[in-house]
């Protein structure tokens, strides 16, 4: 059995990449492989807002990732620079940057590119979805 990590740069609103990554994740978990971390970068970080509210006949990617991550114990990590630039923040970063609110979904964590490097080093495969 292998250990995977994913790098997701696709926007949840305007491309298919997040959905592809989600389906790939379900398939690898079903085969008994381990998933260490999904690292969201670029427009991919937009999925981490708990205020995302897609119409009821569309897939809710924010919640789909959160549910899988909790069930299978892997990390959903968001790049701090990419996130703040796009208005995605947790309470600590909001405080540090004098912002009036926070919107990071509790299943996600904000961190830096070091977490991507670590994921590459500690996984057998890193697959990018953009």
């Amino acid at each position: 059995m292998a250990t995977f990590s994913l790098l997701v740069t696709a926007s949840p609103h305007s491309s298919q990449g997040q959905y592809s990554a989600l389906e790939f994740t379900k398939a690898l978990l079903q085969q008994g492989h381990t998933l260490k971390r999904i690292f969201f970068y670029g427009d991919g970080v937009l999925v981490a807002s708990r205020l995302n509210c897609p119409p009821s006949d569309e897939i809710n990617l924010t919640k789909s990732w959160a549910k899988l991550a909790i069930e299978h114990d892997f990390e959903l990590t968001v790049c701090v620079t990419a996130a703040l630039k796009r208005g995605i923040t947790n309470a600590a970063e909001a405080d540090r940057n004098a912002l009036t609110g926070d919107n990071l979904d509790p299943a996600y964590e904000i961190s830096g590119l070091g977490q991507l490097t670590e994921a590459m080093l500690e996984s057998d495969r890193l697959i990018t979805f953009g």
């Binding site: 491309s15 298919q16 592809s20 389906e23 790939f24 379900k26 398939a27 890193l126 953009g130």
Partner: protein, 85 residues
């Protein structure tokens, strides 16, 4: 060292092929499945779900159709994957 190239944008095919070695394989996903009538010299795969979603039948394609579980297997058969964005 054999690599699996993953292509999701049909506009980038030529550029992607120019970077590939003879033993590398190419997997078409998302909008790149629109290239299903093209021929390449490489081992070539196509994601069936995305092909069907765009109105093609598997047998219309020259590429070997794979599902998501086979996609996972392909990433393990090759030494590394390169997503050509």
């Amino acid at each position: 060292m054999k690599s699996l190239y993953i292509l999701n944008n049909p506009a980038n095919l030529e550029q992607c092929l120019s970077a590939m070695a003879p033993d590398d394989a190419l997997l078409l996903i998302e909008d790149a499945v629109l290239l299903c009538h093209q021929h390449t010299l490489h081992n070539s795969y196509i994601l069936e779900e995305d092909l069907i979603a765009r109105g093609f039948a598997t047998k219309q394609s020259h590429w070997q159709a794979v599902d998501y579980p086979q996609f996972v297997q392909l990433t393990l058969q090759y030494d590394k994957t390169v997503t050509w964005l």
